[in-house]
């Protein structure tokens, strides 16, 4: 090296050995913006998960306890027929007045009216079967099941339950003569290797390998050897990540959720499945897959105490109003009605995931879900009372409809979800609270089922969080 070069090097070393511009305070303030790192980065995940879980519990409790508002319509007719005068209908005695008053402020249903009040169409369909079942029972089977009325007329004995042919249980309607009816409504670098980003890691190794010697050159060699190894490993890893990031990734998921149907009690259900995620752009991923889930819905009505009392009062009234003993007396009441639907479905979700942040540690997704059904089971339970038999003791009846491998509902629900990614090594654990409002109906009974829940997804080779 020429002397001039040596002089230049020495001058550079001496000038830059302590390049203090007197702004160390400002520099420290700048550093403090990034250090120490706030440890709150992972907190939102747990916070959000906690919030999601809390919301689910609150929603569950709400739906569980929210079915107390019941509306009941009660109607009773007691017909006494004078066989001699053949007056029949003209002499019908209506007990309904008092009872109907007692049933206020619920719908008042006039005699012989077919009422289709405001309940939803889907449920109407579902419940129609209950009505049908009642009709069958009342016109054919009930007579066989139940003893004849206590009081029978000479010429003609009215059978029970003729009238349970019309109406909507939700709004409590079963109407005919001779019946008391009650129901309820509830209801970088070009040509240059990628950066040495892991100096922190290198530091650790470097520190360990930093020998006692003050020979900078030797230490440097050691350092560089280490660094080269790390660089090589780092580049390999990045290549793998690049490759895999361009590929489709898969995740398996399990979820628990609440189904709810109109204003009815929410049911806890569960599902499992597999998703494929296809990267469309840097921030957009198309996800589709298949899962099996069990959807349960439940509906239950019961008769309020005051209505029960009114029913019994109506019975007394009917008896007292009988002009003479031996007149026909019949009175029935439908008390409790419940409906349970259980659908084991294959769900086919298709969603678009959008990663708003650079780190891609969370996403917002929206899409649709279609379903086909492995099995469907609908159970109707109801009880009714005949005041002419065992003083109106409730008789329970059950009807079940089942089907399997039947039906396909395209886009029966929308999917709105937020996914929060948590790295687990190379894989990613995703917490995904979601809401799935019904877009159309599900199953044979056209149930409009919405759900809200939490999916726990395990993403293989996850690159959603960089």
């Amino acid at each position: 090296m020429k002397k001039s070069e040596e002089d230049l090097v020495q001058q550079i070393k001496s000038v830059f050995d302590d390049y203090n511009d007197g702004l160390s305070d400002q520099g420290w303030n700048e550093l403090r913006k990034k250090f120490p790192e706030k440890e709150s980065k992972k907190l939102p995940i747990w916070w959000l998960s906690g919030i999601a879980a809390t919301l689910l519990v609150v929603a569950g409790l709400y739906f569980y306890n929210g079915s107390g508002n019941e509306k009941v319509i009660l109607r009773a007719n007691n017909t006494q027929k004078d066989s001699s005068s053949q007056k029949g209908k003209a002499d019908d005695f209506k007990v309904e007045t008092d009872i109907a008053n007692a049933a206020k402020p619920t719908n008042t249903i006039e005699n012989n009216e077919k009422v289709a009040p405001t309940e939803s169409k889907d449920f109407r369909n579902a419940v129609q079967d209950v009505n049908n079942g009642l009709k069958v029972l009342t016109t054919e089977k009930l007579i066989a099941i139940q003893p004849k009325p206590v009081i029978a007329s000479k010429d003609k004995t009215e059978t029970l339950g003729n009238g349970i042919t019309q109406g909507q249980l939700k709004t409590s309607t079963i109407i005919d003569e001779n019946t008391i009816i009650a129901s309820a409504q509830t209801n970088t670098d070009q040509g240059v290797k990628k950066p040495i980003d892991n100096n922190a890691t290198a530091l650790e190794k470097d520190a360990k390998s930093n020998t006692e010697t003050k020979n900078t050159k030797l230490t440097t060699e050691e350092f560089l050897t280490e660094q080269s190894k790390i660089l090589a490993a780092n580049d390999n890893t990045k290549d793998i990540q690049k490759n895999s990031s361009s590929k489709t990734t898969f995740d398996v998921f399990t979820g628990t959720f609440f189904n709810y149907h109109d204003n009815n009690e929410a049911k806890l259900s569960a599902g499992v499945g597999l998703n494929a995620n296809v990267k469309v752009t840097k921030n957009v991923v198309l996800s589709f897959g298949a899962g099996i889930s069990q959807n349960k819905v439940s509906y239950e009505n019961s008769v309020p105490t005051e209505i029960s009392q009114a029913m019994f009062a109506s019975k007394d009234n009917a008896l007292n109003s009988a002009p003479v003993s031996g007149m026909a007396y019949s009175a029935t009441a439908t008390n409790d009605v419940s409906f349970n639907g259980r659908l084991l479905s294959v769900d086919l979700p298709m969603v678009v995931k959008f990663f708003p942040s650079k780190k891609q540690d969370f996403y917002i997704s929206t899409g649709i879900n279609s379903s086909t059904y492995l099995s469907q089971k609908y159970t109707y339970n109801y009880s009714w009372s005949n005041f002419g038999y065992r003083n109106g003791e409730a008789q329970t009846q059950q009807q079940t409809d089942e089907s399997s491998l039947k039906g396909f509902d395209f886009a029966n629900s929308a999917i709105i979800a937020i996914g929060i990614n948590q790295n687990l090594g190379k894989n990613v654990l995703i917490f995904e609270p979601y809401y799935r409002p019904a877009l159309s109906t599900m199953g044979d009974k056209n149930l409009r089922i919405s759900s809200a829940g939490l999916n726990l997804k395990f993403n293989f080779n996850g690159n959603s969080k960089k």
Binding site: E5, N199, A207, T220, E221
Partner: protein
């Protein structure tokens, strides 16, 4: 700069995460760090960012550092590597700055020993980025061509070439502007 004993104590305190001691260490090595980074990056703002990143790396990994070892060489490596990372991220190696007429605007005294930091930086800026980096790595920071080749992902022979050209350019610059007399 703190003496060796007080530096050992300072580092021990930093290992405990004492923010005040970290600030003290920062301020004591601020000029040292900034001087190294500014040589590679050419301007104070970028140099400060790289220096701060280096400090953060040190604070994070200081538990793995043995106080019995010399702190400055270890810290220097961190600073150099962080500066190189910064250059790579900025993709500045792709720049090919040729010697231009701006050289004419450089004002200098007639002796090397009177060159101040700004003069040197102005001179260095006339060099190709790769030439400047290789010159810094080899002549100032003592890396070998083999090491430089590994760090910059270039052949060892290229490192030698860049160094030779850097020296020639510096000679030319100094001669042309009469800041150096043979």
């Amino acid at each position: 700069m703190p003496d060796n004993q007080s530096l050992v104590e300072l580092i021990a305190s930093c290992k405990k995460g004492d923010l005040r001691q970290q600030e003290l260490l920062y301020k004591q090595f601020y000029g040292y760090a900034l001087g190294i980074c500014v040589r590679y990056l050419g301007n104070r703002d970028d140099a400060l960012e790289a220096a701060n990143d280096s400090f953060i790396k040190v604070f994070k990994s200081i538990n793995s550092f043995n106080e019995n070892n010399d702190f400055k060489p270890w810290f220097r490596k961190v600073l150099v590597n962080t500066s190189l990372d910064y250059k790579r991220r900025s993709m500045r190696f792709s720049e090919a700055v040729e010697l231009t007429d701006t050289v004419q605007q450089t004002t200098h005294t007639s002796a090397i020993d009177k060159l101040n930091a700004q003069d040197i930086l102005s001179l260095m800026k006339q060099l190709n980025e790769m030439q400047r980096t290789v010159f810094n790595l080899y002549e100032i920071d003592g890396y070998s061509h083999k090491e430089i080749g590994s760090m910059l992902n270039i052949p060892e022979s290229s490192s030698r070439t860049y160094l030779t050209r850097a020296k020639q350019a510096l000679q030319q610059l100094l001669t042309t502007h009469s800041i150096y007399t043979k």
